[in-house]
């Protein structure tokens, strides 16, 4: 069975519903489950301060490579037929979609698990530097302990 992965680094806003529709349309006949997740840019920082925009700095080669590595690992780890990852870079407005992941499989558990795994890996291992800009200034952020704990579930 061929396993497809579609990874895209998006410099412009994207519509999660279009990504999901395209993903479903691309599937073969044996799939019985699709799980997807959409992450939105938060309007407030972890400390509660307003965030006017999020800036995701990226590397022209290593960032796409990190997304591909994570998608490939998900395909290898779970019994999925296809995965899709779309991740924004550049300036992202509050509440705008920042990440979309989807996974398809014959039965639901593998699709749920693969989507969950994709997000945990992306939150810590994706090659991004993230800055929150607000009225009080700009702050570069790093993965939280919760992010690391989430990733540890898969080790």
């Amino acid at each position: 069975m061929s396993v497809a992965a579609d990874v895209r680094l998006a410099e412009a806003p994207f519509l999660p519903e279009q990504e999901l529709a395209a993903f479903v349309a691309s599937l073969g006949g044996d799939d019985g489950a699709v799980a997807s997740f959409v992450g939105l840019a938060r309007p407030r920082s972890a400390a509660g301060a307003p965030v006017e925009r999020l800036f995701l700095d990226h590397h022209p080669r290593l960032t796409p490579r990190s997304l591909e590595d994570i998608a490939r690992d998900a395909r290898a780890r779970f019994d999925v037929s296809a995965v899709r990852v779309v991740h924004r870079c550049g300036e992202v407005a509050p509440r705008a979609p920042i990440v979309f992941v989807a996974a398809a499989s014959r039965h639901r558990r593998a699709a749920f698990d693969a989507a969950d795994y994709l997000m945990d890996r992306l939150k810590t291992d994706a090659f991004f530097w993230k800055r929150e800009d607000g009225p009080a200034g700009a702050a570069w952020i790093e993965p939280t302990a919760a992010d690391r704990d989430a990733l540890a579930r898969w080790s």
Partner: protein, 126 residues
């Protein structure tokens, strides 16, 4: 990490800063120099790119003129440290990883003509 190159030791590596004056913002000065020595300096350039917080601290990309034989990553860190003593990112911090040709390198790596050095702060994740 020894001070093998005298002008890089101590607080103010004056000669190193002379080299680094041939940065993008100062290239007009370098271009005006008619003598061969300055022209030779201008030709031995390495680009340094900074990402994340380091980009805010040092600029997204700078070019440095290399002395004969090039500089090591460690020496470049020390020049940056002397040039930006109050930067929000410490160039000497090992968590600021150096990368050449998409490969993480250590401080002993010597930078050759035309190479691009990239400095990566800790990743934020997606």
């Amino acid at each position: 990490m020894t001070d093998a190159i005298p002008y890089l030791s101590g607080r103010a590596p004056a000669a190193a800063l002379t080299y680094i004056k041939a940065l993008p913002g100062n290239r007009a000065d370098a271009g005006r120099a008619a003598d061969g020595a300055e022209k030779a300096v201008e030709e031995r350039l390495a680009s340094i790119r900074f990402y994340g917080a380091a980009g805010d601290a040092f600029g997204r990309e700078v070019r440095i003129a290399l002395p004969a034989g090039g500089w090591t990553i460690g020496e470049i860190r020390r020049v940056l440290s002397a040039r930006h003593p109050d930067a929000a990112v410490d160039p000497l911090d090992a968590r600021l990883r150096a990368c050449v040709a998409d490969t993480i390198v250590d401080d002993a790596r010597r930078v050759a003509d035309g190479e691009v050095v990239e400095f990566f702060p800790p990743l934020s994740g997606g």
